[in-house]
């Protein structure tokens, strides 16, 4: 497969995953605002900015409308939902012949829905409807991808983009949450106080994990168990471990087709991270410092990103000719 085509597949799904995640996080926060007291709402959008890795939001104390503009609507903001959908479509357009027409038409539909959104005229309810539309549109696209596209090399690159982005998003989400809502892990059974309890539910909902968590642990949200679920669950599709399993599987499948020294090295990075997550227990990670562990997971994800680019896409010509 052409490197350019693989690259576009990777980015289109990465951007779409990012759009979906951002829309979900923003929607959860909008739902928290009406019932939480002023002291909890103060600095909310700064926290959101941190959880999404948006530095501009972190340094300034922005109001909700300004923040929503940056997070959701402004096409010039590189982190906005609209920008992500536009970028996903741009990449899909480059490989229109390689993806199914169902996929192209769905992404095109989503694009036309979001580019007309004008935040100035929207009420809070409209914001939520907009964000729901994006989540649903992205999920439809991914469903169509799985059911209408050959699960070959191109599809593997789509998997890579989706799950690498997801692992990083969830790691950053939990990391920034832990920084804002300090947890006393020395008392492992303790539940959060009444004020921060809704914020912990919000955390789980931001990763579509609340219902799944309840099925295992009941709605009593214990920080240690929530962290265990988000980081180490082997079955929940938004956990970091689950995501990195998928990344590893995609990489080994691609490497079977395209074996090279460079490919081996990125598989090694992903495999090491996967093994760490498979054989770790949450108490060990807490013992080492959970925030630092999450930061290092994000760095490993970034290393996989760089590695796959060097292995399959932007490799140096001389290196490729040498073997």
């Amino acid at each position: 497969m052409l490197s350019r085509v693989a690259d576009s597949m990777y980015w289109l799904s990465r951007y779409l995953e990012r759009a979906e995640h951002t829309a979900r996080v923003a929607g959860v926060q909008l739902n928290l605002v009406p019932e939480q007291p002023a002291e909890m709402n103060a600095g909310r959008w700064v926290r959101v900015g941190q959880s999404l890795g948006i530095e501009e939001l972190g340094v300034e104390r922005l109001g909700m409308s300004k923040a929503l503009d940056m997070i959701a609507y402004n096409p010039a903001s590189r982190t906005s939902v609209v920008h992500c959908v536009m970028s996903a479509r741009f990449n899909a357009r480059q490989v229109r012949e390689e993806i199914s027409s169902e996929m192209w038409e769905q992404l095109n539909r989503l694009y036309h829905q979001v580019v007309v959104a004008a935040p100035d005229f929207l009420s809070d309810a409209d914001h939520l409807a907009f964000l729901d539309q994006v989540k649903e549109g992205a999920q439809l696209f991914m469903g169509m991808t799985d059911s209408t596209m050959t699960h070959g090399e191109g599809w593997r690159f789509i998997e890579l983009g989706r799950y690498l982005e997801r692992a990083q998003n969830v790691a950053r989400l939990l990391e920034s949450h832990l920084a804002s809502f300090k947890v006393d892990f020395d008392n492992p059974g303790e539940e959060p106080d009444a004020l921060s309890y809704p914020e912990w539910i919000g955390l789980l909902k931001s990763a579509t994990a609340f219902e799944a968590y309840c099925k295992v642990y009941t709605p009593a949200v214990v920080p240690r168990l929530a962290a265990d679920f988000l980081v180490l669950s082997d079955r929940f599709p938004h956990s970091i471990r689950f995501s990195l399993d998928r990344v590893y599987n995609a990489l080994t499948a691609i490497t079977e087709n395209a074996p090279s020294q460079r490919a081996q090295s990125v598989v090694r990075v992903a495999g090491r991270q996967r093994a760490m997550l498979s054989y770790s227990q949450i108490d060990e990670l807490i013992g080492q410092g959970l925030e630092a562990a999450l930061a290092s997971m994000r760095e490993e994800c970034a290393a996989v990103h760089t590695g796959l680019n060097e292995a399959f896409i932007g490799y140096a010509v001389e290196a490729a000719l040498g073997g």
Partner: protein
């Protein structure tokens, strides 16, 4: 004649058809259908009045859903449009086709010999059959190609020659397209649509198939691999999704099962061309390039081009890669060189041209120029290096101001212009927007492949000037197309 076979039936869709002031493809005289169109007429008269309309709408929808569109430049919104397609086929008899086919093969053979000659010995220039200055002043003459040999001495491999049928019913060559002719995907997809709409009629008329085109194109490209390499890797080089013919590029690549590449997918190392794949660099042997000479290599031609591949021309000159069509073929479809093609055919093949040229006046010739400038309102003036219907003056349809502007341009740069008498292109019945049937002018672009073998796809693209009275058939200027049927006798 009885009413039944003169087409005077009460409900005939042709009952209001007025013969045009030129050769009509379907009718020899009012209500007198030409024999090879009789089956079509009968079929259409047997259809309920609304049926044609419904079939037309079904066909348009089918084109839209398949994304058979082209891009209109200079408009930001709605830039993708379907190529207007007329349902009534244009029909050519076996005898007519035999002559066209022989004429095209003769012409392409001679033009390839001409290209090989001017880039090597230049016998034809030394013998003063074609003026040396004419060739050297041609903007598409590539000095870089002097002394460079190409596989099988085949320069123009994929050719689309524009033919017109003039008043006496004979065909003449209007233009040779030896660089990157387009439109063949419309020929192929339009037949697919017609098969669904007129399946019985196609069978009854014994229309020759054209499905083999993609296979023939692939075979032609394979036969041009450097050093006769077997199982060569072939790629189609496109400028990208923003190009007006991107649909065609993607369509042909898919039909042939070859990679569709952009300039940034290719790298040149030690004069060898590779494409970047996820499994590493893969050597490429033949590039079917759908970008102009000027954009192929920023090191050799336009430095500002980001579509091409740095170093490609050196790899080409080193004989490590075949570009098809070859670099520098544009010199042979220059509109001033065109005037010499009959002489070129006689010179290399010692034969009379089977397909005549249209009478052409060179503006570099003082007598010709005087003659033309005195009757600009009756002439068509064309810039020699342009295509797509751009840069031309159609005398009878021009204003005095436009003629004055062209007069000045011609006088300022005579080498850049030629003139031809305004031709009465033949017309064929078309279903117009109101669903009435009216005559519209048509031309014919058959597609010729020239590699190990020469193959002409039976028929080609019939282009239609859909605006009433218009003589311009280019898609960029409001033209459409018709399926072209060549009959088996």
């Amino acid at each position: 004649m009885s009413a039944a076979n003169t087409g005077l039936k009460r409900l005939s869709p042709f009952k209001n058809y007025t013969l045009p002031d030129c050769w009509d493809e379907m009718f020899a005289a009012p209500f007198q259908v030409r024999p090879h169109y009789a089956a079509l007429q009968e079929r259409m008269e047997s259809m309920a009045p609304d049926e044609m309309k419904r079939r037309k709408q079904a066909a348009d929808l089918s084109f839209l859903h398949q994304g058979i569109t082209f891009t209109v430049y200079g408009k930001s919104e709605g830039t993708e449009r379907i190529f207007p397609h007329d349902l009534l086929p244009r029909i050519i008899t076996a005898a007519e086709w035999a002559r066209i086919e022989a004429g095209l093969i003769q012409r392409i053979t001679a033009l390839n010999l001409f290209l090989g000659d001017i880039y090597h010995e230049q016998r034809i220039l030394n013998d003063k059959v074609v003026p040396r200055e004419l060739v050297y002043t041609c903007p598409h003459f590539r000095r870089e190609m002097r002394g460079v040999s190409v596989p099988r001495n085949a320069y123009a491999n994929v050719v689309g020659t524009d033919l017109v049928r003039v008043e006496d019913g004979s065909f003449a060559v209007l233009e040779d397209n030896l660089r990157v002719p387009s439109g063949v995907s419309y020929m192929l997809t339009s037949r697919q649509v017609m098969k669904r709409i007129f399946p019985a009629l196609l069978r009854e008329c014994k229309v020759r198939p054209i499905d083999q085109y993609s296979r023939d194109l692939l075979a032609t490209l394979q036969s041009l691999a450097p050093g006769g390499r077997v199982n060569p890797t072939i790629a189609l080089l496109t400028p990208g999704v923003f190009n007006s013919a991107y649909f065609e590029h993607a369509y042909l690549a898919r039909q042939m099962g070859i990679e569709l590449v952009e300039g940034r997918d290719l790298v040149v190392h030690d004069n060898v061309v590779y494409m970047r794949t996820t499994a590493g660099l893969r050597r490429v042997d033949v590039i079917y390039r759908r970008i102009d000479d000027d954009f192929t290599d920023p090191l050799s031609f336009r430095r500002d081009s980001i579509l091409g591949v740095p170093g490609l021309l050196n790899a080409y000159r080193a004989g490590n890669i075949t570009l098809s069509n070859a670099v520098g073929t544009g010199v042979a479809d220059d509109k001033a060189v065109y005037a010499y093609v009959p002489a070129i055919i006689r010179y290399y093949l010692d034969q009379d041209p089977i397909l005549p040229n249209v009478e052409t006046f060179l503006m570099t010739d003082a007598k010709h120029r005087e003659h033309v400038l005195a009757r600009l309102d009756k002439m068509v003036v064309k810039a020699v290096g342009e295509s797509g219907g751009y840069g031309m003056l159609i005398g009878p349809q021009s204003t005095a101001g436009e003629r004055d502007a062209f007069r000045e341009r011609v006088l300022a740069n005579p080498r850049n212009y030629i003139a031809q008498p305004t031709l009465k292109l033949s017309a064929a019945p078309c279903m117009v927007d109101s669903f009435e049937i009216e005559p519209r002018h048509v031309d014919l672009r058959p597609y010729v492949l020239f590699g190990e073998k020469v193959a002409v796809a039976p028929g080609g693209l019939t282009r239609v000037a859909l605006r009433k009275g218009s003589l311009v058939v280019n898609s960029s200027q409001g033209g459409g197309s018709k399926d072209t049927w060549v009959l088996n006798d």
